[in-house]
């Protein structure tokens, strides 16, 4: 059975993560991955582009700010933030980032895509479409595609802390938490990895002997096995053991960042996951990481809750960039920010507690290696309906094409040089070809 058939079989029930012995061409420790590194940041629940990167004049869609502001070629929603307007404890807003701060700092690096037609306003479908490029079920996230293509022999290449992270059997998913626990598992044969005088559980030759015996036994077990589900599980174990040494290169921060109070706990979690993501990239372990921030499903109290969550999201992105810069990998990051869909097109109640419901025309923002800078592609009408663009020039054009998730993902796959790989071919997309959509 070749790898393709194996994946077909196991993929049928979502079982596959790896090919069996004799199929995987490498069973030794995989080479450290050198980038680019992909960070997929999900605003879970449905964000409001009108209050971010697709601003509107004051009116039914916008009752907070006077009108769009500009940073470079980008327009944004100039919403001031302070503790009271965001419903935060005193001092809380100092940890967040306003649109103005964000766009003034990053507009020169951003490509903003406005007027994306998600064709859905249901959370699961929207999240799936944003991160896989396809609305219907059964497609892996872009993170899984890029990790499985660029580091097929690593079982640690795709790390997720939430959002749409289906792998469809291409590669295992990894979660990271607790620095102390990670240190201990990075050195499983040291009794106390935190101590310079740590003893070993087994001498190094004994540890190697155990490992050899494990490998030999697993080979023997697999050779006798015929059920695909069991073979797949055995293969998983083989592959996972082959990449566990990578953890030794994981240089973890002394402490994970902390923020005061419960109100900022979601931002704190996102920042901590960013720290671990940067460490995993730096160690050559990860190719793609999902970061997630919830709280955007603001059917009520939109003006406070949505604005606060957006300000947290931008602060989280800024923190990620800062950490990546410190680690010397910022130029190798590719970041995409997206959400299930948008909100609107207006409020569901006239009072201050009114919310915005689900709306299928949304936006995405990208920046990093290979991404065009200081650009806005696509637009929406005053009623928040999508406008079409010319696939070549990308200028607005009547009768052109409306941006769709599959179109964006086709471009994303090309940008990441994974479009011709087996994982992408096994999960083809039917979007419009827009060669310069992301790269400019």
């Amino acid at each position: 059975m070749d790898r393709r058939n194996f994946l077909k079989i196991a993929g049928m029930t979502g079982l596959a993560v790896s090919a069996p012995f004799g199929v995987r061409h490498v069973l030794a420790q995989p080479e450290p991955y050198k980038g680019p590194y992909f960070v997929l940041i999900n605003a879970s629940g449905g964000w409001d582009p009108v209050y971010l990167c697709d601003p509107k004049a004051k009116g039914p869609l916008n009752r907070i700010y006077d009108g769009p502001a500009t940073a470079g070629n980008l327009k944004y929603a100039p919403i001031p933030i302070d503790d009271a307007s965001l419903g935060l404890e005193p001092g809380g807003s100092a940890y967040l980032m306003s649109n103005q701060q964000f766009f003034e700092k990053y507009a020169s690096q951003l490509t903003v895509l406005n007027g994306i037609d998600m064709s859905t306003n249901n959370h699961d479908g929207g999240s799936r479409a944003t991160w896989s490029g396809r609305l219907s079920e059964g497609f892996p996230s872009f993170g899984a595609i890029v990790a499985a293509t660029r580091a097929p022999d690593s079982s640690l290449a795709y790390i997720s802390s939430g959002g749409y992270d289906a792998t469809e059997g291409l590669i295992p998913l990894t979660r990271m938490s607790s620095i102390d626990a990670l240190r201990r598992v990075a050195y499983p044969n040291q009794t106390d990895p935190g101590s310079p005088d740590t003893a070993l559980f087994h001498s190094s030759t004994t540890a190697a002997r155990i490992r050899k015996a494990q490998e030999d036994r697993l080979k023997a077990q697999l050779a006798q096995q015929r059920l695909p589900r069991v073979k797949t599980a055995m293969s998983e174990l083989t592959l996972a053991r082959a990449s566990d040494d990578v953890l030794k290169d994981l240089v973890l921060p002394a402490d994970l960042v902390d923020l005061p109070g419960y109100q900022l706990s979601d931002l704190r979690d996102m920042m901590q996951q960013s720290q671990l993501a940067v460490a995993a990239f730096k160690a050559g372990m990860a190719v793609a990481v999902n970061l997630n921030l919830g709280g955007f499903d603001t059917h009520a109290n939109h003006d406070v809750d949505q604005v606060r969550q957006l300000a947290k999201l931008l602060a989280g992105v800024d923190f990620l960039m800062t950490e990546a810069e410190k680690a010397g990998i910022v130029d190798d990051l590719v970041i995409m920010m997206g959400s299930d869909f948008a909100r609107g097109p207006g409020y569901n109640a006239d009072n201050q507690y009114g919310g915005k419901d689900h709306w299928s025309i949304t936006s995405a923002m990208l920046m990093g290696r290979g991404i065009g800078k200081n650009r806005v592609i696509g637009a929406t009408t005053d009623a928040q309906l999508a406008l079409a663009i010319d696939p070549s020039s990308l200028a607005l054009k009547d009768g052109g094409k409306v941006l769709k998730p599959e179109t964006i993902h086709l471009a994303l796959r090309k940008l990441a040089s994974v479009a011709d790989g087996a994982p992408a071919k096994d999960f083809p997309l039917a979007g419009d070809d827009m060669p310069s959509l992301l790269s400019g």
Partner: protein, 767 residues
């Protein structure tokens, strides 16, 4: 329908003997069975031919939900595969429609060929392949073929674990222990019947209810409120539950406070356990007009049932809660878990969401219906702008909302801002679809009792049976039930359909047995344990690609969850893998998320595939447990040892001159044989190559280490952590005479290598 006795009751372990394939030749009228060696029931023919090639492709377009046929009030309705039980529903619809005729021609042919009025005109040509398939189906429906076993349960070629192997797996999984001697001897003598009895017996043990709690917390996620002490209590409205205020604040003992919070947080999960433990119809998880409290949660709710032991956390009593409003007692309208304050908080609402999220979760958890999946279709935002009330008037929206909103209305008596607070005087929203269920409007007189009204009906819905089967199947096998293969043009469609049919046949049979046994959940649990999806260990022969696809979901290859692995470690080694400073299980604290577990809050999906970090956690576990247990086990008398009953620390394979010592080598191999059985469940002959492999690991480690100790390259002392100084489970000092701190013969460390090796084995980490 003719059926063989329940599968899993025969004395051998081949599927044929268990009735999985024997049924193929039985009960068939021969008309459609081809060569007579197999039986294709009419339902199977419908699924594989009529549905796949005709109705699921053409008829569904108009006769599906929200299709033109429905708009025009056509009676013939079909459901797509996103609906639970869609094949059964469609088969019934087809049977009904087949009996209607126009000029002697069944409606199934007269309509699509436009021989009579058909809104869709001619969609099938007379004489076409599609016509032939429908005609053939109609012929069969005159005298439907029924096969003797569950349709599609044709998993020939799968080798099952033996009854005693299954007994071990079930005992570890269900009750976190190894089977006892009585169970082993009874199963060895009684085979499959005795196995079923033994499994049923385990379902009476307390340990099983821990496991059941894990399974249902994966659904309800209410353990979120156990993250810190006081989380669950703080959710309760102190006007309605005054003891959640001053009384709670006055509880000083931290352990007591933790237990109270846990009991309140787990109320819905404990209610489910209570229903199962007492063999009540599982429908009571929705319909119970009571909830359960233990001595710790009772005071919070202001009730004081009589407990036999006020310190027993596991003593649960049924109570009916009431609150006081304006001096009057107001009874809580209990509706099983649905009215639980924890459920209502875990799945909250807002004034604009109007309980739709709750309705969606009820569909998902208790009616096996993913309403978002059913409603998934491209939408055009310009269209919804034309409706004043799109959720009701726009067909793109109301398709889902007419299913969601009536159930949302069932939660109308709860406050939008304080999730569990009863608010019976509120007005429900007239612009929404009226409260009700399955097309039945809730009478206004029932509004004060809306949730129990709905729960009673939901519990009788066939989808509740499917949801119950799916939940148990998922919990015990670790895999989702197979989805119906979506693409008939897929070259592997036939094999995928066969796999789906096999599993669907089993799951439908489990549902039938569940209902026949008065909705006793233990029936499903027992039968999943006995099924090939839990017991399949290999195939009799090498599989072709098609055969492999058919058997893709079969087999015992589940990665243990952190909770299951923790229990297994304790069961087989006798020690828990814990943190020394608070004795908490490592796999339930520090390593829970890293090892793929959930926190019931932001991480609610388990990882089911091993990654590199998880492999490293497993390595660390194997090293730490081997370190903690090896010297400790040797510190006890031989007859009390868990792991090393056949050797001593002086049992070395070679003498001082390097010559082999046959007796000690035999003893070492016997202990290795014993360890393979205890830790991995392998019954190996002493000459088995795996015994030799493990012996070589011991021998080489011992030889090198002993030489190093003699040569001064390695210390005779054991590292501090691996000495037998304390009881690993309590961290209490051992008596001085029992302590082991050095290892001059290097046998402790050689055995540690063996224990590490076995604890990190595939058979230990996977079920």
């Amino acid at each position: 329908m003719t059926r063989l006795p329940r599968f899993g009751r025969a004395a051998t372990t081949s599927l044929a003997s268990l009735g999985f394939i024997a049924g193929l030749a039985l009960g068939c009228n021969g008309a459609l069975g081809g060569d007579g060696d197999s039986c294709t029931s009419t339902r199977e023919y419908f699924a594989a031919e009529a549905w796949t090639k005709v109705m699921g492709k053409k008829c569904i377009t108009c006769h599906g939900p929200a299709g033109i046929a429905e708009e025009q009030n056509a009676e013939f309705r079909l459901l797509p595969s996103s609906y639970p039980g869609f094949m059964d529903a469609n088969y019934e619809a087809v049977k009904t429609n087949a009996s209607i005729s126009y000029d002697g021609l069944s409606a199934l042919l007269a309509k699509p060929t436009a021989k009579t009025m058909h809104g869709g005109g001619e969609v099938i040509k007379e004489g076409s392949e599609e016509y032939r398939i429908i005609a053939s189906l109609l012929e069969q429906l005159k005298d439907p073929v029924e096969c003797s076993d569950a349709d599609g349960a044709q998993l020939d070629g799968v080798v099952l674990s033996t009854p005693d192997e299954t007994l071990r797996k079930a005992a570890l999984h269900l009750v976190g222990r190894l089977p006892n001697a009585d169970e082993i001897s009874e199963v060895k003598a009684g085979g499959e019947d005795a196995l079923a009895e033994a499994v049923r017996g385990m379902l009476e043990e307390d340990g099983f209810y821990d496991r059941l709690g894990d399974i249902f917390n994966d659904l309800l996620l209410t353990d979120r409120y156990t993250v810190y002490t006081g989380f669950a209590i703080a959710l309760l409205n102190q006007d309605d539950y005054p003891n959640a205020g001053a009384w709670w604040d006055g509880v000083a003992d931290e352990d007591q406070r933790r237990r109270i919070n846990t009991a309140v947080a787990r109320e819905p999960v404990d209610l489910i356990a209570h229903v199962v433990r007492n063999d009540r119809p599982f429908t009571e998880i929705l319909t119970a007009d009571y909830t359960v409290v233990n001595p710790f949660s009772a005071p919070i709710y202001g009730v004081s049932p009589e407990f036999k032991d006020p310190t027993d956390y596991n003593e649960f009593k049924e109570v009916k809660l009431s609150i006081t409003r304006d001096g009057q007692k107001l009874a809580i309208p209990h509706a099983g878990v649905l009215s639980s304050p924890m459920f209502l908080n875990r799945f909250p609402t807002t004034p604009t969401n109007r309980n739709r999220h709750r309705a969606r979760m009820v569909y998902k958890m208790f009616l096996a219906t993913d309403i978002l999946r059913i409603g998934e279709r491209p939408i055009d935002p310009t269209q919804s702008l034309t409706y004043q009330n799109p959720t009701r008037d726009d067909t793109k929206c109301n398709f889902c909302h007419k299913q969601i909103d009536p159930i949302a209305g069932s939660f109308q008596n709860y406050n939008d801002y304080d999730m569990e607070q009863l608010d019976r005087d509120r007005e429900w929203y007239p612009e929404m679809f009226a409260p009700g269920f399955n097309g039945e409007d809730m009478p206004k007189s029932e509004f004060p009792n809306a949730l129990p009204w709905f729960a009673t009906r939901a519990a009788q819905d066939p989808r509740f049976v499917i949801a119950s089967v799916y939940t148990v199947f998922r919990g015990l096998t670790g895999q989702e039930p197979l989805a119906y293969p979506a693409d008939p043009d897929d070259p592997n469609y036939g094999a995928k359909l066969a796999a789906w049919q096999a599993q669907d046949g089993l799951l439908r049979k489990l549902g039938e047995d569940f209902v026949a046994d008065e909705y006793n959940l233990k029936t499903i649990i027992e039968q999943v344990i006995l099924s090939p999806y839990y017991r399949g260990i290999t195939a009799e022969t090498e599989l072709s690609e098609t055969e492999a696809l058919k058997l893709a979901a079969v087999g015992t290859a589940r990665l243990s969850t952190p909770e299951l692995l923790a229990r297994k470690i304790e069961a087989v080694t006798g020690i828990r893998w814990i943190r020394g400073w608070d004795l908490a299980e490592q796999l339930k604290t520090d390593y829970k998320i890293l090892y793929g577990g959930i926190d019931s809050d932001s991480i609610t999906q388990r990882l089911t595939h091993l990654n590199g970090i998880m492999a490293s956690v497993a390595s660390r576990m194997a090293n730490e447990v081997a370190c903690g247990v090896t010297a400790f086990d040797f510190s006890r008398p031989a007859d009390q040892r868990t792991l090393f009953p056949k050797v001593t620390l002086d049992t070395t394979p070679l003498g001082p001159t390097g010559a082999e010592i046959p007796d000690t080598i035999a003893a070492i191999k016997e202990n290795i044989q014993y360890l393979h059985a205890r830790l991995l469940g392998e019954q190996l002959d002493i000459t088995d190559p795996e015994i030799e492999r493990t012996y070589q690991l011991f021998l080489e480690t011992w030889k090198e280490g002993a030489a190093n100790v003699t040569g001064g390259k390695e210390d005779a002392w054991l590292s501090w952590q691996c000495q037998a100084r304390v009881d690993p489970n309590t961290q209490q000092d051992l008596p001085e005479a029992q302590k082991i701190s050095d290892d001059p013969n290097y046998t402790v460390r050689a055995w540690m290598a063996v224990i590490t090796y076995l604890l990190s084995d595939y058979k230990f980490l996977f079920e």
